[in-house]
Symmetry: C2
Subunit: 272 residues, 2 copies
């Protein structure tokens, strides 16, 4: 999917919501456990109930890997279901990968070709030759961790290299990577006050923003400081949407939670 | 496996060699492609031919993920084969994972429980609460990227935070993490001259050292500056061992390459 197609979807749906699929057998409704593939059945129901309110889905790969082969099957079925039924959705493999050249190419093939995701999240610690192999894939997007929403972000990301914080150094350095127009960045909503500085370095790039809601980030603040003329924001919510109910009505409850976020987004988009 | 058991194995085998299983269908001998699971058959033959010369195996997870479900099956068969037949081998999931708390726990379960690896490689960018969930697993080891062997290492790792390079900050900060005695670190052999400084910060910890041979690092240099009284080094070689021949004799050729590294290690150990 091109960035322009994503922007069109945002305007069409009046939403820049991404639903995180952190699917956990301990948290999904008990009645699904009798299904052959409870994880996929849960995802399918959540997707069908929310797809008109969001522009993307983000399976959190750890949750699938934790179940080994069975989990990988559920992931494959989920991404195939999305691509077959809702090809207009922007799909994000939240995988936090990154390794030296030929290994990164393998990860890129795994998620961009074998599974056919539109994008993947990447850790930048190993630098240029760990990120560029992902950027080589046309029509795909590489979402680099810049400033994350967790406490551990203060361990290294906000430390200063010279006069510049590590995460800003990551933003600035990554702009020099080949095919850097295929980059997006993870910036946690819990640190919305940093967005002005971030936009000074990457004025146009899309940001994937976790941490609105459950982790305490404010949608209004994120939009105030982070929005661009082409919106430039994808706000993710996972637990706040998919686990609203653990009963038979879970999909409807997820729809209501997604609807409430979509309406808040629509209200903001209308003021532009 | 405990660290003390690993040290015993090193002394017993007079080797601190780890064989990297970067198994690639384009590089393995053509005659294996007619097997039902060529990747596993290749790994099995390599393992059987080298197991008395090394103390560990390190499947590079990207190479398995690239083949989707089939690759995951080959990985599962490989780790099960190791655990069933050579439980004395130290197994490393070279996965470069790392995410916020509950997600890291999932990755830890995937590799420490579902697949039952002894250890996993981790990227430190997200800080304390992305690493500690791995450290919570008793009897398991978490190998944090410190200074990698690729060019991109100079993008961020060697940049200075105050007077201290980022990789040293990672070493020092990680020592304060809970259960930090379960930490090991990746330090590339191509940067052996940094090992004195590294040992000043982490005098005892095991280092996983890639880049000897293929990437130009010197075994002698690594041992001179990095070895501890309990050895403290695991030197990895992947392509330099497993792809010595693409013919029927591939396993024997791998054995010879491993033997030559083991002998070089034995010579060094004898001088202690």
């Amino acid at each position: 999917m091109t960035t322009q197609e994503l922007v069109s979807q945002i305007h069409k749906k009046k939403s820049f919501l991404v639903v995180g699929l952190d699917t956990d057998l301990d948290k999904i409704p008990k009645h699904l456990l009798k299904e052959e593939d409870p994880i996929f059945e849960f995802n399918k129901a959540i997707i069908d109930a929310t797809q008109d309110l969001c522009v993307g889905y983000k399976p959190n790969i750890a949750f699938y890997e934790a179940y080994g082969l069975e989990g990988w099957k559920s992931l494959e079925k989920t991404i195939n279901y999305l691509n077959d039924n809702y090809p207009e959705q922007f799909t994000i493999a939240d995988a936090k990968r990154g390794d030296i050249g030929n290994t990164s190419t393998r990860y890129a093939k795994a998620f961009f070709e074998t599974l056919n995701f539109d994008s993947i999240t990447i850790a930048p610690y190993m630098g240029r030759d760990s990120v560029e192999p992902f950027l080589a894939f046309e029509g795909k997007h590489t979402i680099v961790l810049a400033l994350t929403s967790n406490k551990g972000a203060f361990d290294f990301q906000t430390q200063k290299i010279g006069n510049q914080e590590v995460y800003k150094k990551v933003l600035e350095t990554s702009k020099t990577y080949e095919n850097s127009d295929r980059l997006m960045y993870v910036v946690g909503a819990t640190k919305a006050e940093y967005l002005t500085d971030i936009r000074a370095i990457i004025p146009e790039s899309f940001l994937l923003v976790p941490g609105v809601g459950a982790q305490g980030g404010s949608l209004e603040e994120v939009c105030k400081y982070g929005m661009t003329k082409d919106i430039g924001l994808l706000v993710n919510s996972s637990r706040g949407i998919i686990y609203k109910s653990q009963e038979e009505d879970f999909a409807q409850a997820a729809r209501e939670a997604a609807k409430s976020m979509q309406e808040a987004m629509q209200a903001i988009l209308q003021t532009l």
